[in-house]
């Protein structure tokens, strides 16, 4: 018995079919075309959406344009309020930094002993502002110091043999509550309580003195 098998291939290549019912040569182009159609639809929808959004934008722009005059009025009111408040704040700094001398000066004669003659009372004017730092890029609009020191110097002569008591009495008086709204501290600077040597032997009994007072500082804030 001859076992040799005989294989006959009677199909041509293009006549071969897969056992699968889905044919790749049909499905792939079909899916590709469907994909392109899908992309086209997406593009179309996006384009339609642009039209819608553009219309919405135009509408909102129209509304905003209609409201602009009324809104500008509100903004102008707001700017005026801001300016008024800022100017008020700046002037309020000044108002807060006021200092009053009148009442304290009016009380002074009552506390000066009879043997004392005041020769000078001096409150120096505010010191000049320090020069601006040229390295600063943004020039400050005003002084940056918030406080300004105020001092008062009282000079006089005393002619009694109890000069030290008289001057001490005046010094103590300046520390009393009646002056406390102006004078914070009062002291005799070293070496200022001295004999009046400059005016000759006739006034040798005269003693000169100075009292330096630190007043309430002016706070611009």
């Amino acid at each position: 018995m001859n076992d040799a098998s005989l294989h006959l291939n009677l199909l041509q290549d293009d006549e071969r079919f897969s056992s699968s019912p889905i044919r790749l040569r049909v499905m792939v182009p079909l899916l590709a075309v469907l994909g392109v159609v899908g992309l086209g639809v997406w593009w179309f929808l996006l384009s339609a959406h642009i039209g819608h959004v553009t219309h919405e934008k135009t509408t909102l722009e129209t509304y905003c344009a209609e409201l602009k005059p009324a809104h500008d009025q509100v903004l102008a009111l707001r700017a005026r309020e801001k300016e008024a408040r800022a100017a008020f704040s700046q002037l309020d700094f000044y108002r807060a930094a006021r200092i009053r001398f009148g009442d304290a000066l009016a009380h002074l004669p009552q506390h000066v002993p009879a043997s004392i003659q005041l020769t000078e009372l001096r409150v120096p004017t505010p010191p000049p502002l320090p020069p601006q730092d040229p390295a600063l890029k943004v020039k400050p609009l005003g002084p940056t110091n918030l406080a300004e020191a105020v001092t008062m110097r009282i000079a006089g002569r005393v002619s009694s043999s109890t000069a030290s008591e008289a001057v001490r009495s005046l010094l103590e008086a300046l520390r009393q509550p009646v002056f406390s709204n102006l004078i914070c501290k009062a002291e005799i600077p070293k070496g200022t309580f001295r004999q009046d040597a400059a005016r000759g032997p006739a006034v040798r009994e005269h003693i000169l003195f100075e009292i330096s007072c630190g007043c309430s500082e002016r706070r611009f804030e």
Partner: protein, 202 residues
Amino acid sequence: MKDAPFALDKLSPQVRMALGITGVALVAGVAIIVFGIKPTYQRVKTLTAEVAQLGVKHATMKTDITGTQKQRAATEAAEAALKDILDEGVIEPLLGSFSMRGKSLLDPLAEEAGFTIVNIREDRLIPLQVPNPPPQQLYARQLVELTGYGAYTQIVAFVQAAEQTFPLAVVSGLRIEHQMPTPERHKATITFEWPVKGEKRK
């Protein structure tokens, strides 16, 4: 010569057509994405952001406009407060001169107190500390120095009267010197300061 394994002429016309259609579809798809969808999508994104911004702006404008009356009241209150403090004693130059303004204000008080003013001059202008936010119109301190003669009580009465009459006038410098020939009559140099309009910011 041996043929390439995937030579087109070896493929059946149906496969060739399928490959052709697929290739054309791929090219068309890429072109649609690159030249159509991508720029359109970007445009939609931009427009949507602009619309959202406009929506917020519109809503803000409407809210602001609704509060117009409230804002008007707040503005008027702020301006009234400013006017009060300006009226309280922010001085303006008299024909360009602060010293003459000072003289016009202080002369009647000095006369009443018995203090004789012999000289008056405009001193320094010191800028005022600036709040945050700063105003457009800045204010400053104008120093006006006056020299005169009088008894201590007259000088003090004058200072008191000035401080009471002009709440914003401040004595920023004072010198009372006794005069040898006239022990009861002193020379006084008094520097008053007032708030005045300063620079205007640009």
